[in-house]
Amino acid sequence: MKVLNDTRTAFARELGPELRRPAGLLFTMLLPFLLLALFAPLLSGMSPVGGNTGTGSSWQWFAPGVLVLLALSATAGAGASLLNEMSSGAFERMLVTPLNRAAMLVGRALKEVVILLAQAVLILVLLLPTSFRFRPLGALAGLGLLTVFGIGIGALSFTLALHSRKQQTLFYGVQQMIFFPLLLLSGVLLPITQASAPTWLHVLSRINPAAYVVEAERALFDGRFAETSVLYGGLAATAVAVLGVVAGIRGMRNASV
């Protein structure tokens, strides 16, 4: 009960500034926007990409990946706000209150996910004029998977921030070092198949949870629920979420006595 109340308190605090400045959610969307505007049109001129392209156009193949990219780029920076509060003293003030430590982490991660969902819906709206085919149930399931994955990445970002308090550059360094490989090895831009990629690169992409989430999103948005890629994507996202939340809560607990 207290945990729930505290989670709501932490969540409401973080959401406040976003609600007063809704345009702020555009800032972390630059990369997805650029990809949709300047990269996606190239794909439609090419022959169908990838091994398992499903039923539709190249938009159908590309757009779900962009949502995963969005989840990565929007929530990976979440820890930066915490880092600021750690150096200003605001975080310390919260640590002296009896607020539940798990709630402090989960409340923050939930706020990241709410923003992420708003951004994802905005992208889906932008896709309306394209040949992207909307399947309501599939889209809903896709956003659900995105939520789980986003919580995980957000929580991992907070964890990294909590461990970087003595050296803030650590946060930005590690974040960039992880973000780009995760992105490039996820198959968002081009399919990474056994046929198209060197073996080592293919292997690397197979140990990247984001790659499974991308494949699952493609299937879900296409309405193909029964594929194994959905199962693997769901497992990968859940694993990231569990890992992130557990590590994040530990980090929060260790931030004070």
Binding site: K2, N5, D6, T9, A12, R13, G16, P17, R20, N84, E85, M86, S87, S88, G89, A90, F91, E92, R93, M94, L95, V96, T97, P98, L99, R165, K166, S256, V257
Partner: protein
């Protein structure tokens, strides 16, 4: 209200070990107002952070408001308020929202938090700023908001880390006025740190002088000043010969610490200047020494610090102020 035994904290930084706090033994009664006075780097913040559950001690124990900081930090947190050295309120948040969040964190209802926020804003002369973003406030307004955050749940024990550093005199007065009103109404115990001598002198009933992680003196400001420094009588005499005789007569007084002459000026250090001065003047007159001026100066806590360490607090503070940064670790 606070009991510590051998409370110690060291940090490892760049291969070196800094002993920030060395064996702090504290017994602070409910209702007292205690100041930690010492130069930058003395270990004041580290002590407070251990007492407020923010930092685990390297060794030693602390029971705060009836709860052990290590085994029951949550018990401590419910009962204390803390004003950190940095900014407590986040810059991007709205003033009233931060106060309401704080109330909710301590388990107040939404309506209760809102009402409390309003009354605190009024008490700290921040009305009209409720809807402002914290980052747009002036330094003084921001510090008063930080104080309000620490007071939301009317804690029985309040820790204030340099509450008024950087504030203008008016804001300082407002802050202390409010903190002391709270003490009067609720009997709040107050522990604060400062490197402002006047502040410790004016508001604390008990001053702990700290230096290099140790408490080197612990008493009421009056007793510290009387015991360690004493009053100073400064006489202006007509010529050197008179000065010489004045020195002899001053030395003959029952309780004097030190008598020095500089040209025609004679300085006498004594714990009871107010009663000694008339006696000295009568003796000087009887001996025919021509005394032109006589002054009595009361000691400051800086004199106390000087007496204890051989440095003045202002010097020690000035030397390290530039490197005083806030570390969230």
């Amino acid at each position: 209200m606070i009991h510590t035994r051998g409370l110690t904290r060291s940090f490892r930084a760049k291969g070196e070990t800094v002993e920030a706090v060395r064996g702090l033994d504290l017994d602070i009664e409910a209702g007292s107002v205690v100041a930690f006075l010492g130069p930058n780097g003395a270990g004041k913040t580290t002590s407070l952070r251990m007492l407020t559950t923010l930092l685990p001690p390297t060794s030693g124990s602390a029971v705060v408001a009836g709860y052990d900081v290590l085994t029951d930090p949550s018990g401590v947190r419910h009962r204390i308020g803390y004003l950190g050295q940095g900014n407590s309120a986040g810059s991007n948040f709205r003033v009233s929202d931060e106060l309401i969040t704080q109330g909710r964190a301590y388990g107040l209802s939404r309506a209760g938090s809102r009402a409390r926020a309003e009354s605190l804003l009024a008490a700290l002369e921040l009305e009209g700023l409720a809807k402002r973003t914290v980052g747009t406030l002036s330094g003084g307004q921001r510090r008063r908001l930080d104080i309000a955050l620490a007071l939301v749940h009317e804690p029985e024990l309040l820790f204030l880390d340099e509450p008024t550093t950087g504030l203008d005199p008016h804001s300082r007065a407002t802050v202390w006025e409010h903190v002391l009103r709270l003490r009067e109404e609720l009997g709040t115990t107050i522990v604060f740190t400062t490197h402002y001598l006047e502040e410790a002198d004016l508001w604390a009933r008990r001053v702990m002088v700290v230096d290099h992680g140790r408490v080197i003196a612990d008493d009421s400001p009056e007793k510290l000043k009387a015991g360690l420094a004493g009053d100073r009588i400064i006489l202006g005499t007509a010529d050197r010969a008179d000065a010489g005789r004045a020195v002899e007569l001053a030395r003959a007084l029952p309780t004097v610490h030190e008598v020095t002459a500089d040209g025609t000026e004679v300085r006498v250090r004594t714990p009871h200047g107010d009663t000694q001065l008339p006696v000295l003047l009568r003796n000087l007159e009887a001996a025919g020494v021509r005394t032109l001026t006589a002054r009595l100066t009361r000691p400051t806590l800086d004199d106390v610090f000087l007496g204890l360490t051989g440095r003045t607090l202002r010097e020690s503070a000035g030397a390290t102020t530039a490197t005083a940064t806030h570390d969230g670790a």
